[in-house]
Amino acid sequence: MSLHNRVPLAGTALALALTLTGPACAQGVLRIGMTASDVPLTTGQADNGGEGMRFMGYTAYDALINWDLSRADRASELAPGLASSWKVDPADRTRWIFTLRPGVTFHDGSAFDAGAVVWNLDKILKQDSPQFDPRQSAQGRVRIPTVTGYKALDPMTVEITTKTPDATFPYQICWIMMSSPANWEKQGRSWDAVARAPSGTGPWKISGFVPRERAELVPNPAYWDKARVPKLDKLVLVPLPEANARVAALRSGQVDWIEAPAPDAVPSLKAAGFSLVTNLYPHNWTWHLSRAEGSPWNDIRVRKAANLAIDRDGLKEFLGGLATSAEGFLTPGHPWFGKPGFKLSYDPEAAKALLKEAGYGPSKPVATKILISASGSGQMQPLPMNEFLQQNLAEVGIKVDYEVVEWNTLINIWRAGSKSDSARGGTAMNYSYLIQDPFTAFIRHAQCSLQPPNGTNWGYYCDPQMDKLFDEVRTTFEPKDQVGVLRKIHEKFVDDALFLMVTHDVNPRAMSTKVRGFVQAQSWFQDFSPITMAK
């Protein structure tokens, strides 16, 4: 389909837009340079990790439960989305009842109802349903591993059942995007066709895309939350995986906003009049260690040694201060942080001693292969950062070799597990995690039953004690008590050095001063609705 009417100059493009749409909503075009190397999947369940969901998920689609992204001063919380309310059945705590929002329509005009919810869950969970989509399923399935059944109780009520009582379920279902069944029929029941003409319920409509080059979104004036109808005329997304290309594009005015500018470029961007926006968000940058047979990381002394070998403050300096050094798996000061006994200090001597104890030494270093990506959502500056780690680790006697793959490929390997052939013998992968809720923060990485292909316990870690703690979290519906259990879990994560815990990102984005009204939420996701562009 023809997506772009050719316009000679950016200035005239704007002028043209003004005359066409009238002055009421003439708020300009915002162009964003993403770190992804391709336009994220447009059919609903976006790929490309958290960034994909940020730009192609919560923009064009809604989940039953959304995130409240309106505030910058506190961690984002869940908010009603396509479900106006939800509750767990007190008699049977595996039953969740969702009351749907009335009067919502998809971009194609068809109505959203309980049938659509069931249809969408079938889309990713039921392999023999006609609308089953392997691509969306790959993205969505692992987000809701506990779901065992679902049905429409009436046109506006849906029941979803989980394997066991699970207090964290709302945090899982908020990942599942609702695409239009009517549109899928209209597009000849082909997801490839839907990808070119998608339809969701979100505040933005995908008006077109050129694969690998750009995507365009326009406001959905009929959005159910009138306060979140976008003010811009258009949102343009440009994949620019190379940090340098992003900076160059911003400086030359090709885009107005870039994700994750290279730290080295930040001072010069500021000097050139661009503004830098940062905020805390629930992120960590780790090496996920494999516990498969033969992995050196099965020895706790090696895991601890690696954690003691990293000069986290040096790394922070490399990142131009745009980071928080890790003190544990969660961000420092997090309510679930607890009091872990193992301190993540920089102590190469202690690290060497631990390695010696484990039977390694200068003549017999730990030698292993690590999977890393060249870019990606939340991965910060993976190449130089990993090179820095490589140097640190080499100094204590851990010799690592990198296998560099593209970000989406790394995600695929992450889902396939460290024992799969695709991991090519890598014993760890550099992966940044969204650590928003008990499930995304802990359970998905460490529960025995979530080993691939059932979940994303990439490293095949399994500890009955940990599983018992997880069960406790799931069955503790009283928030205050839940926090107590979560603290214990985090202490165990750190004391057992389950990950190589390195740093937390502060989500830097650089943008032109023309961008107005953006509130950077403490979240992986952001709301683009209130933004306007100054002339």
Binding site: L3, V7, S37, V238, L240, S252, E406, I413
Partner: protein, 317 residues
């Protein structure tokens, strides 16, 4: 002439077949199970079965090749692992973008190359020759991907005159040579043009020098032919080879654009190859290379035919 063309096609056909064999074997070069090389890591059982039968991995190699070639001849280059889109549609969009870039670069290179070549060839061993030759050596010796970075530093980052990446303000959709799109073309095209400029200039210099040294030119001069007449004569004799080199350069640039396209994020075949390599998308890699190599074979054929038609000295079979 027709006989010559037929003979030349008869010669190109087995080469083309050989190219398909090499491209086919690329998938088998990759370490590990060839099936895993062409499947997403979390492929479903149906997908695996489908691919296995499509590629016939359980059959002997020659049979697999036959099956694959049959599909290729019907325009089926397989499906990209990373995007799930047909490889042919990905490649055809990218080829047209690469062609724009390579053609403009060749044209720039040809213009400057012939100019420097003529200057140097006419003024042999003078300072003009030395300068022109130095420029030519620069052209063939400079790592063009580095030159690209330097160009971005100077013209985009520092001076802010030209956009550093991309094919146009709205991507490559609806590409048209209007001023806005041409601005995006300048840096990659000029960077890329240093290669054909160097090659063509060296060739033309040698040609012009040789022609001027030939006895009959001396004779023509002695007979009182004007300098312009001599020049015309030189052009006529140098043109077929120069044009042939230009044609081949177009092919080299089209196939060799990966580094430049990576530096400038130009959405062409090189960019696609880079993505294919890092996404381990072997069907896409295979398809792109097949299309580019076939293009090159065809171009070679055309160049031969054109050169023969232009050059009276080459005997037509």
């Amino acid at each position: 002439m027709i006989l010559f063309i037929l003979k030349r096609i008869g010669y190109a056909a087995p080469v083309a077949l050989g190219v398909t064999v090499v491209c086919f074997l690329l998938v088998h070069l990759a370490p590990g199970d060839p099936l895993s090389a062409i499947l997403p890591v979390d492929a479903t059982a149906e997908m695996q079965a489908q691919m296995r039968s499509a590629y016939g991995f359980d059959k002997p190699l020659p049979v697999q090749y036959g099956l694959w070639l049959w599909k290729v001849l019907h325009g089926d280059l397989g499906t990209s692992i990373a995007t799930g889109r047909p490889v042919l549609s990905e490649v055809s969009r990218a080829v047209s973008n690469s062609l724009i870039l390579a053609a403009v670069a060749t044209l720039i290179g040809f213009t400057f190359g012939t100019f420097f070549g003529f200057v140097a060839g006419y003024a042999r061993d003078s300072w003009l020759d030395r300068v022109a030759s130095a420029i030519a050596v620069f052209g063939v010796s400079v790592p063009h991907y580095w030159l690209g970075i330097v160009m971005v530093i100077v013209f985009s980052a520092t001076l802010g005159w030209l956009p550093p990446t991309g094919a146009g303000p709205q991507g490559s959709g609806n590409w048209w040579p209007d001023p806005e799109h041409l601005r995006y073309l300048v840096l990659p095209a000029v960077t890329m043009s240093v290669i054909p400029m160097g090659v063509i200039s060296r060739t033309v210099r040698a040609l012009v020098g040789d022609i001027l040294n030939q006895d009959f030119v001396q004779a023509l001069r002695a007979k009182g032919l004007s300098e312009f007449g001599v020049f015309r004569h030189v052009v006529k004799n140098a043109a077929p080879t120069a044009i042939a080199i230009m044609g081949l350069q177009l092919g080299y640039l089209l196939g060799g654009s990966i580094l430049i396209e990576t530096v400038f994020a130009w959405p062409g075949t090189g960019f696609l190859l880079n993505a294919a390599i890092f996404q381990r998308d072997l069907p896409l890699l295979q398809g792109t290379i097949l299309v580019l190599a076939m293009f090159f074979v065809t171009l070679n054929l055309l160049v031969d035919v054109v050169q023969t038609a232009l050059d009276p000295r080459i005997e037509r079979a």
